[in-house]
Symmetry: C2
């Protein structure tokens, strides 16, 4: 089965796929949060847009679209949710970069939000993006043509993944454990929550909204969990091996902050092996899907190939 | 009509009503966010609970319950939404108090969140409360017995009221305008958004979820708008006239920060008159409701009677 899937994937062009989806997502994001020429909201919208259009890879929204396609749905029907997910991701980056958190001055090659707009507006821009995500998910035009109970469940899954049981919880432990010796259990908690939860929820929501069966959703949930952990391990490796000009952010920052990471606990070589193992596990989880899950397989492969 | 309502209200005991509702709300909040004896989420939950159970008046959730009752619904059926609203309100207080915002060290008579848990955890506690609000609103047990489209609309109304078109937008302008001469239009924008939007949404959601008609919801929306502005004007007056021991927070803080407030633009006497005018306008908006709206009338009266 596995060999067959690999062979089938030969013809799949991830670069072209991702480029097409990014265009779709960026154009939808632009329509949800257009530039304000004037008015009282001009400045806060400018700050929200600054980070939203700062050249993100759009991994999470692409996963949401690919999750829909994997169960026979379309990108278009889950596009509002994909956009909402990117808003949530962007908010988390703005808040993570704040002086009281990771104190980063550079992100994706440009100054971080608070460096440009000041701390107060950066906090509010994050708050605004997070809240706007839930507004977009619940706009009548988002859900009118969908099964309402699935929409409510998808919002619930995203809120759980983003909140204190997910991303916020992971970030809180990440902050708490800086400079402390950490056990593998804590590293896994931080990574699976800080990064893994939203990545998993992105795929799951796409599939749920597009009418996926429980069995399909469970398989995609396993895929997403594995992908999320692998993604974070690779990020930590890049932080050590990468340089500022390639990464677009300051390299070696984790080490400097005394962060709990896989490479710091396991060493680089074992961390890489762990990442590969998670990727294989993720691809294995969706072995029963046909070619419509090829984008998800290709994304998994890409995670441990990327340089930034 | 007006005289009749006043007479009818004679028998209404707001203190007992509010006390009963507060008990209901506090007990539900406790069940949604119980203390964690251990585990990775222990600390972030502790920080979230610290501000959530710091003695708030529960005005907004009470308005949500009263909004349901005004259209013939019960408190119980909208209780999860009432709790979610209090979480949103609490998050906004934690973020407003941060050093980069209003830099407040005291709130409701006790140290503010960041004074106890540090800035990073305070920001995350706010993020966690905001996100948890949307998780509670979309839990299956919240919506299973309700019309799903009304639930989705209510979530949307709250997200709009809390986000950059509402509370976040008002707070951003508030920060932006500190120390600057402001016109009455700006003062009204700040107040109607920073405070008014969530107060209005609280009543409206209660009524919407309980099956209120469009006409009823519009009337309650007007009531809520007026109440919100009056509430903020009175808050600004108390900030000038009140003392720290009564207010539970530092008095004179607005003046010190060069905040744009009604008293600073109109003077205290005219500001008081404006508050009374808004209260009358709010009560007038719900003149066609019967005794079931007495709690809302009594709450309006209370706004300009309170000392903190």
């Amino acid at each position: 089965m596995w060999k067959k899937r690999e062979a089938e994937m030969e013809g799949f062009d991830l670069k072209a796929y991702a480029e097409e989806k990014r265009k779709l997502i960026n154009s939808a994001l632009e329509s949800y949060l257009p530039d304000k020429a004037d008015g009282y909201e001009k400045e806060i919208v400018e700050a929200m847009r600054y980070s939203l259009f700062a050249g993100g890879k759009r991994l999470r929204p692409i996963l949401c679209l690919a999750g829909s396609e994997a169960v026979g749905g379309t990108s278009e029907q889950v596009l509002p949710f994909a956009c909402a997910i990117e808003l949530i991701h962007t908010y988390s980056l703005i808040h993570d970069d704040l002086p009281s958190m990771d104190d980063d001055s550079l992100r994706r090659g440009i100054p971080t939000n608070h460096m440009v707009f000041g701390e107060a507006i950066a906090i509010l821009a994050g708050d605004g993006l997070l809240t706007e995500a839930f507004r977009i998910m619940t706009l009548p035009r988002t859900w009118e043509a969908m099964e309402h109970s699935r929409v409510l469940k998808a919002v619930n899954i995203l809120a759980e993944a983003a909140g204190y049981m997910g991303m916020v919880g992971g970030q809180a432990m990440d902050i708490r454990c800086q400079g402390m010796p950490a056990d593998p259990g804590t590293v896994e908690y931080i990574h699976s929550h800080k990064t893994g939860a939203l990545i998993r929820a992105s795929v799951v929501c796409g599939a749920l909204l597009a009418g996926g069966t429980d069995e399909q959703i469970n398989a995609l949930s396993s895929y997403g969990s594995s992908l999320g952990v692998a993604f974070q391990i690779w990020d930590d490796i890049l932080d050590i091996e990468g340089h500022t000009e390639v990464m677009g952010k300051e390299g070696g920052k984790d080490l400097q902050l005394g962060k709990v990471t896989y490479p710091s606990v396991l060493g680089i070589d074992r961390a890489k092996k762990e990442a590969y193992r998670y990727i294989e596990k993720g691809i294995e989880a969706i072995k029963d899907f046909g070619r419509e899950a090829d984008p998800l397989r290709a994304i998994a492969r890409y995670v441990t190939e990327r340089r930034r």
